[in-house]
Amino acid sequence: MPGIIVIAVLIGLLLVPVLMYNTLVGKRNQIHNIFGTMDAMLKKRWDLVPNLVSTVTGYADHERGLFEAVTEARAQAQRGQLNEDQRVGLENSFMQLLGVVQATVENYPDLKASDNFMHLQRTLNELEEQISAARRAYNASVTDYNNSVQMFPTNIIAGMFNFKEKTLFQIDAGERENPQIGNIL
């Protein structure tokens, strides 16, 4: 009988680290999964740029500088040679540019009322909402993962197998000031 107890305790001692390791891997994979979805949504938003530019230039031709900046930002994103920080920076400046475009549109009532632009506006709103949801999901899974990396006893396994803390997806001050759909929601 004592032999069985000793074996059970040993199996338990072996199982606990395995379970902790698997939990950490599961949480890290969830972050990658959500980041992938967010990335797809950000790409979708870039794909709207040609449509946006062609719709708006017809009405507001002398805002050419602004559209060139938007097109250039898209080209940079498509080249894909950016590290994570540069990518976040580019996404943030693109958000700001979109804010400027939307503010500029206010000066062109015909453009604002056009079917094409209204459709585009709805699609952009939809994507903004989905990107915002993906960011929140990403941050929730990063917080969950970081808690496991920092808290005892999983921090021991995290240290042994080099599970590093992840950074939250934060918006910068410029984006916070953006006159976006946030007021309407």
């Binding site: 709103n125 939809e126 949801a133 929140r136 929730a140 759909i181 929601l185």
Partner: protein
């Protein structure tokens, strides 16, 4: 939505006369009820007297006829008062609803179907009794809505368990989505803290647990969803705040299901909605309560901002 000042004016100009007319018939209904009670009491007394003494002295002969008496009397009284009830619904509730929103339709004897109730997936227990009344349906702004009072029970002969009783609403949601997100009252985390949360994570009957950022929302509700991102796409910080305010205002248990592009809302209530009392006269305060209940039923569209259609769904 109508303000209380508008309601007061409507009450004195349109409803008061109707209420007085209806109340003038109450005496006749009361007399019929008293007569019916006396008659059934007399019948049961005679039946009990005629029973052989051997049976009469058994203990069950005391309460069995009494239970029969109460049950049969209940049915008779319901039958007697149905005229009063239907006139009340036609003249008071129908008018009140028309005052709040003339485009809405009212069907006093119809209710939300079992099909809709089941599709919400809010309550997983099996049931064998489903009834309801007071169906309201129509379009509030851009949003299709229908709601009614329902009572869902499971009875095995000896005991009856109420699974849900209250107001059940089905509304068109203002965003497109594919999965399912459920917002349920939080019991486990409230009483068991972190252990409760662990138990919720391991709930095999529901989708994955969604942990949202708002501590107040997390304290009041537990959220399960088929997709972490979609759940947050639906439950924006603004909608979470609106749900919290809606709960605070109505002080009732609240269940929400976002499923098949629709929003299903179940508000648990102990009182019967839109029913006239048999003893208490209809007065300003009781009509005020009907008005509040109707506002609660229809106001969900405005309260949860369902008419905002700035996304791809029109």
């Amino acid at each position: 939505m109508k303000s209380y000042d508008e309601f007061k004016a409507f009450y004195s100009e349109e409803l008061l006369q109707e209420i007085e007319q209806l109340e003038s018939t109450r005496g006749a209904y009361l007399l019929k009820s008293i007569f019916a009670i006396i008659c059934t009491l007399a019948i049961f007394f005679v039946v009990w007297i005629l029973l052989p003494p051997l049976i009469r002295n058994k203990s069950f002969t005391w309460y069995a006829p009494l239970l029969c008496f109460i049950f049969i009397n209940g049915l008779i009284l319901k039958w007697i008062w149905r005229g009063f009830r239907s006139r009340f619904k036609e003249r008071i509730i129908q008018k009140l609803l028309h005052f709040i929103d003339p485009s809405l339709q009212y069907h006093p004897d119809r209710y939300i179907s079992e099909y809709d109730f089941d599709r919400s997936d809010l309550f997983l227990q099996s049931y064998n009794r489903y009834k309801g009344d007071d169906l309201i349906r129509g379009k509030v702004g851009k949003t299709d809505i229908k709601c009614s009072e329902i009572c869902v029970q499971d009875s095995d002969g000896d005991s009856t368990q109420t699974i849900f009783k209250g107001l059940f609403t089905v509304a068109d949601f203002n965003k497109d989505f594919h999965g399912q997100t459920l917002v349920l009252p939080d019991k486990a985390e409230k009483f068991l803290g972190r252990l409760g949360k662990k138990l919720q994570t391991a709930n095999p009957l529901r989708h994955q647990l969604i942990q949202l950022e708002s501590p107040e929302f997390e304290n009041k509700f537990v959220v399960y969803g088929s997709d972490q991102i979609e759940a947050r796409y639906i439950l924006t910080p603004s909608l979470m705040q609106r749900i919290l305010e809606f709960k605070k205002r109505n002080k009732s248990k609240l269940y929400l299901s976002f499923s098949r592009n629709k929003l299903y809302i179940a508000i648990a209530l102990t009182r019967n909605l839109f029913e006239p009392g048999t003893r208490k006269r209809i007065d300003y305060l009781s009509v005020c309560q009907y008005f509040q209940d109707l506002q609660m039923a229809i106001g969900v569209v405005e309260d949860l901002n369902l008419n905002t259609r700035i996304w791809t769904k029109e």
